[in-house]
């Protein structure tokens, strides 16, 4: 770590860089004053490390800070996500147990529930069967060897993969969650035969039963490994070249960061890196304003990410998916839907109005962008209704209101035979309804009542929809973050180191083996301690929490509850069982206390706390009317009203604004509906109440 003096003061800065699809958002924190600067640069898909370092330099320039002042660099990336979604990962190979070459190909042997049996096409697997090799050797479900590993076959497979130019190799053997011996030995043999290969074993990636899901997680890990590995290396080089000598940490899907050594070994853990950072940022701004129960709606151009935070902690799931694939690693429970500002509205031949999931994206974008878009989008509807001022950014980009109106009239209103304004409102009603559906999934379907939560709309388009969504959900309070468009980059600045260690350990009520559970937890805790060492986490900053997943006997789906404390005894086991019954009741409307319970998987979550910044506070408000820069007509269902447009940056702490009003800032526009009142919190968030 290095420090430098600027203006005579000793500065420590932290850099957060969130690389999105179109833009790279950068935040710079002055760790001493809590002041935060933001910058935005274009993402450079061909070599994302360039956009990364451009952003870093821009950010430091904005903050007036020297590269040497940086003590930590945190990064959210979509490199792994895109590689998986677009099927553009490495040529990967798999070595598996004799008889199980087609586990990936078969999958769970289902046509997905919502699909049509005559139309559905099975998605292409990330590894083709000609790169999958079988080797003899077998363990029982208890981990005991029933057939020794055929080492010659492993060597043969490694040589064949080497000859085929395959340098990313996964190893997944039956029942290896119970004992990693065969997989470790096989990995060593592969490295001997094929030293350039990057190797990943399933007992490292996901030591949990169900061979398809475990194989898929391991394959996806090696699938993204060569590129992520190289990418991390490039980032490190770029940082050194830019005289930034601070440690680089990457955001994982679970909402914590990890160092480059960890990411190189488990790159698939960055699959939801970007959205996870947004959730962390939401938790932070919420806590700063005194709110711990939050529902976040992050609305961008093509999609919306919905997540929930209870008691300041994001919900985490082990039943996540990335594109077509299950990914059973702990990840922030985010529901993504194809609804955003660029979502296209269409009327079908049968006369049905639909919005999304097709999106006009950034190019051509909405009709009002003057880039050749002809199909009306959600943004066009907002513009036509006066929800948006007719300009973007700081006024440098003028929007074509007439183009929006024309598209909505000719393509929606006329075919449906309804009034133009009703058509525009209809587009928004449908897209809001999609979002409400997704919010219900993370709240009501998880046993939470959304009315008990504060709604946090963010992303460039979020605060335009927050008011309507809050009303549909009967939510009384919204929190609009200080910079809604760069909340993910802020989340990076405030995230902690995190790692999870899980193992299957099947236990049946009546025969709970306290000693065995203690042994498994002990070994997982040891894994956690070793990880703390590797990440150089000081003793005082180490925290671990234990978790168990349980089900009723004969059930096939587990619920995870936190273990009370860090020891295994009769009392803690009884408490875990009690918590399971209670959670089952909450989630599924009934508990079955007359039915034996099984403990399936034990997990240790390790957190290395990083120093947390304190946000600087806004100066007190003067007369908010001085922030009014224009007025315009807003067309509501009840009639047309004139509303002031405020420049949000000019509002001080305690300022109060009554709807209808529009608040503009560089990265987002907030719409206040009549009856809604906003107050500027001293930490910069808007608290909107109704």
């Amino acid at each position: 770590m290095s420090e430098t003096k600027t203006n005579g003061a000793l500065r420590h800065t932290v850099l957060g860089i969130d690389t999105g699809g179109t833009f790279t958002d950068v935040t710079v924190l002055d760790a001493d004053t809590g002041r935060i600067w933001a910058a935005k640069t274009s993402t450079t898909p061909a070599d994302p490390s360039r956009g990364f370092i451009d952003g870093a330099i821009e950010g430091l320039k904005a903050a007036g800070a020297e590269p040497e002042s940086v003590t930590r660099v945190l990064h959210g990336t979509t490199v792994a996500t895109n590689m998986i979604l677009e099927g553009k990962g490495a040529a990967a190979g798999l070595i598996t147990t004799l008889g199980f070459r087609h586990v990936l190909e078969i999958g769970r042997q289902d046509i997905p529930r919502r699909e049509n049996m005559f139309a559905w096409i099975k998605p292409r697997r990330p590894v083709t069967p000609n790169r999958i090799f079988e080797v003899a050797g077998r363990l029982g479900p208890d981990g005991a060897e029933t057939k020794p590993l055929d080492e010659a076959a492993v060597r043969g497979a490694a040589r064949a993969l080497r000859a085929a130019g395959v340098n990313a190799i996964a190893i997944c053997f039956m029942h290896s969650y119970a004992d990693a011996g065969h997989e470790r030995r096989a990995a060593a043999l592969v490295r001997e035969e094929h030293p350039e290969a990057l190797v990943s074993i399933s007992s490292d990636v996901l030591p949990v039963f169900r061979e398809y899901e475990r194989s898929m997680a391991t394959i996806l890990n090696v699938y993204v490994m060569p590129v992520i590995s190289a990418y991390v290396g490039q980032l490190e080089t770029r940082l050194v070249e830019a005289r930034i000598r601070a440690p680089l940490l990457l955001m994982k899907s679970s909402g914590g960061v990890a160092g480059t050594e960890t990411i190189r070994r488990a790159p698939v853990e960055t699959a939801l890196s970007g959205p996870a950072a947004g959730t962390v940022g939401m938790a932070f701004v919420g806590a700063a304003a005194g709110f711990g129960d939050l529902i976040g709606v992050d609305i961008g151009g093509t999609s919306a990410d919905i997540s929930l935070i209870k008691d300041g902690r994001p919900s985490v799931t082990v039943n996540g998916r990335v594109g077509d694939w299950p990914l059973s690693l702990p990840m922030v429970d985010i529901v993504t839907i194809g609804a955003g500002g660029g979502s296209i509205a269409r009327v079908s031949r049968a006369g049905a109005l639909s919005v999304g999931p097709q999106s006009a994206g950034a190019d051509p974008g909405p009709c009002c962008y003057r880039r050749g878009g002809v199909e009306p989008t959600v943004t066009d509807a907002h513009l036509m209704l006066g929800h948006l001022p007719p300009w973007l950014l700081d006024g440098s980009f003028e929007l074509d209101v007439e183009a929006s109106r024309r598209a909505i009239i000719t393509r929606i209103a006329e075919p449906l035979g309804i009034y133009p304004m009703a058509a525009a409102r209809g587009i928004l009603a449908i897209v809001d309804s999609h979002m409400v559906g997704a919010i219900r999934v993370v709240s009501i379907e998880r046993g939470r009542d959304p009315r008990d939560f504060v709604l946090v709309p963010f992303g460039g388009a979020g605060p335009l929809h927050g008011g309507a969504l809050a009303r549909l959900l009967d939510i009384r309070t919204q929190l609009v973050p200080p910079s809604p468009g760069v909340l993910s980059a802020l989340g990076l600045l405030v995230s902690n180191l995190k790692a999870d260690f899980a193992r299957t350990c099947l236990q049946q009520q009546g025969r709970f083996d306290i000693a065995q559970m203690a042994r498994v937890f002990g070994s997982l805790q040891l894994d956690a301690e070793n990880w703390f060492e590797r990440e150089n986490v000081p003793q005082a900053a180490r925290r671990s929490s234990w978790h168990a997943s349980l089900r009723y006997e004969h059930q096939g789906f587990e619920l995870t509850v936190e273990w009370p404390g860090n020891s295994v005894d009769e009392a803690s086991v009884a408490e875990v069982v009690r918590r399971f019954h209670a959670l089952h009741q909450t989630l599924y409307t009934f508990a079955q206390e007359d039915t034996p319970v099984e403990i399936v998987t034990l997990r240790v979550d390790a957190v290395g706390a990083l120093p947390q910044p304190k946000l600087s506070e806004l100066p007190p408000s003067v007369d908010p009317r001085e922030a009014i820069v224009a007025r315009q007509a807003i067309h509501l269902g009840t009639g047309t009203v004139e509303a002031p447009i405020y420049e949000r940056a000019r509002l001080g702490a305690g300022a109060e604004i009554a709807g209808p009003a529009i608040l503009t800032q560089l990265d987002a526009t907030t719409l206040l509906l009549p009856g809604q009142r906003a107050e500027v919190h001293r930490t910069g968030s808007l608290i909107v109440r109704e």
Binding site: G99, N116, F118, M174, Y552, Q592
Partner: protein, 597 residues
């Protein structure tokens, strides 16, 4: 639509609200299904996902259904015992009685639960779920066996009964039901899960009626049904010219020595009516492959085909109305007389789907998929080392038919239903899974290849156990179309490669196996579409390298010659070979034919 009620005439639902209602109904259905999936206990439900949820309007017409062509008129059987006027909020009805319900449910393990939904004191909708319970009594564990000779041997029959009034269970009824199962704990958990799901659906529908108003919701449900009907009718008319079309498909056997059993279909399309006549099908059988088919079922197949992957329309009563009349003959395989056994109706149900596709192919010159194999179920029953009874009921995927624009799906069971992971079987039952793989060369050769079946090889670790199995399409494999060839058949081998190797009859029960025996199940593939010589040689090579097609079949069926190592196509030799192109006809089942009869 006067029968929808007087409110419909007063309020209409605008297109925006309609889209919102449609999304909300789908979401409610999804939420109900998630609840069952996560809480049920029968392996059939929780790992194999053999369950669905649906929503009906106040007259019991389906509004949002499943993508499964297996069900009839769900609500009507209840109203025979409990008139609509007698229903109250807080009621919940239950049945599994196939004959009493006229095939609304078609084998006894499937339990149907239905709750009425009220708005402003009026019955406006129904929420429904069904799920396949593990064992409801009967001749053998699992309740289904090819040995059954009447339905009384297939478990307890529950006619429509009121399971709840004012939200309180009729515990006496349930006590009788649980007492009749070999696994009462499981079906107790299943009942709770299925009932909780229906209650959830009832609540969600109630919320929607409250939010949008009764009149608007009633109209929305009406519009959703009419929209599907209008679109499906238009699509069918555009696809099929007036005329008379015939197709015959068949199943191998009833498991008791009778077969093959033919299903003879005739579709008559004239200016104002579309009629499907199945009455010429063979008589019902002594064995349990009889399918008490509700007339809605073949219409649903047509609806599914016409719907394709289109997310705009719902598969509902509107799709069912696409065929004006379905004629069935009492005493036939598709309309058996009480008390004929029905347990293995799955093979006939899946063959009905193929027969409907056959009709569409005849009528359109091959614009529909080729035939699929019928999913395979087998049971292993016995005593564990500790003396307790175990029942392993394992479903295995098959190959689906190739399509005019794509290969058939490899190795799937059916919509939504999943496999048991090998690691699950190994840890719960006294078995060791030795092999779980693609069954090569079972996909029917074609321009588009039929999907391949599966090989599942299981070593028995119990001292002794009994095998029951059901594989159809061994003698009469799924047909190919438009020049595509039929799929490869399935079979069951005991101790393959050993001195005591022998075949187990494909539909049979009672085969005794011992510790160390190996049971190898091979399932069949789907038919191909188009002439196999038109398939790109690169795809054939990829299939060979991936283990889907053997090198020999590449040569003989596809005319593709590989190099000596079998890793590349010999282009010159392939061109030469493909010059001698075998003549093809419209259909193929072991041999080409213009029509299957």
């Amino acid at each position: 639509m006067n029968d929808v009620g007087h409110v419909a005439a007063e309020v209409t639902c605008d297109p925006v609200t309609l889209e919102i209602v449609r999304g909300a109904l789908r979401a409610a259905q999804g939420e109900m299904e998630a609840l069952i999936e996560r809480t049920a206990m029968s392996p059939f439900i929780r790992e194999k996902k053999d369950f669905f949820a649906a929503l009906f309007d106040g007259k019991g017409k389906l509004v949002v259904g499943s993508n499964l062509p297996a069900f009839g008129d769900i609500v009507a059987p209840i109203t025979e015992f409990y008139p609509l006027a007698s229903m109250q909020a807080g009621d919940l009805y239950w049945y599994n009685d196939c004959y009493q319900s006229k095939g609304a449910v078609s084998h006894t393990p499937d339990q149907v639960f239905v709750a009425p939904v009220f708005a402003e004191g009026e019955l406006v909708a129904f929420a429904h779920s069904w799920a396949h319970f593990n064992d409801v009594g009967g001749l053998r564990p699992g309740s289904l066996s090819p040995d059954c000779v009447d339905i009384f041997q297939e478990g307890i029959m529950v006619p429509p009964v009121r399971l709840m009034r004012d939200g309180v269970f009729n515990e006496e009824t349930l006590r009788i039901f649980y007492r009749n199962s070999r696994f009462p704990e499981m079906i107790k958990g299943d009942t709770r899960a299925a009932v909780a799901a229906v209650r959830l659906g009832e609540r969600r529908l109630g919320e929607l009626f409250e939010r949008f108003g009764k009149g608007r919701m009633v109209d929305a449900l009406r519009q959703l049904i009419e929209r599907s009907e209008k679109t499906m009718r238009e699509r069918l008319r555009a696809l099929v010219n007036p005329g008379e079309y015939r197709f015959t498909d068949m199943i191998d056997s009833d498991g008791q020595g009778n077969g093959p059993i033919r299903m003879r279909y005739k579709l008559t399309v004239d200016a104002d009516r579309i009629v499907l006549d199945c009455s010429d099908s063979d008589d019902q059988t002594p064995g349990p492959v009889n399918f008490l088919m509700a007339p809605q079922v073949p219409s649903t197949v047509f609806g599914l085909y016409l719907l394709g992957g289109d997310p705009e329309h719902l598969l509902n009563d509107g799709a069912v109305r696409v065929i004006d009349e379905v004629i069935l003959r009492p005493g036939s395989i598709l309309q058996p007389r009480f008390p004929a056994p029905l347990g293995l109706r799955g093979v006939t149900l899946m063959r009905n789907v193929a027969a409907c596709l056959g009709l569409i192919n005849v009528a359109t010159g091959g614009q529909a998929p080729a035939a699929h194999a019928a999913y395979v179920i087998w049971y292993l029953r016995g005593l564990k080392a500790d003396g307790s009874l175990f029942l392993m009921s394992d479903g295995i995927g098959v190959g689906y038919g190739a399509r005019p624009t794509a290969d058939g799906i490899d190795a799937v069971y059916l919509v939504a239903q999943e496999n048991y992971p090998a690691e699950f079987l190994d840890s719960v039952y006294p078995v060791r899974l030795l092999r779980y793989a693609i069954n090569p060369d079972t996909g029917g050769p074609g321009r588009w290849r039929g999907g391949c079946g599966i090989v599942r090889e299981v070593e028995v670790l119990a001292p002794e156990a009994v095998v029951s199995v059901r594989i159809d399409g061994v003698e009469n494999p799924p047909w190919g179309v438009a020049g595509g060839k039929s799929g490869g058949p399935g079979r069951v081998v005991l101790n393959p490669g050993r001195a005591d190797e022998r075949l187990i009859p494909p539909i049979s029960d009672g085969t005794v196996v011992k510790h160390g025996d190996v049971i190898r199940l091979e399932t069949g593939g789907g038919g191909g579409w188009g002439h196999p010589f038109d398939r790109e040689s690169e795809r054939v090579l990829e299939d060979v390298l991936g283990g889907f097609v053997s090198r020999e079949a590449a040569l003989l069926d596809y005319g593709v010659v590989l190099d000596s190592e079998g890793r590349a196509v010999d282009d010159a030799a392939t061109r030469e070979r493909r010059r001698r192109r075998p003549p093809a006809k419209m259909f193929h089942r072991k041999e080409y034919a213009e029509l299957l009869t």
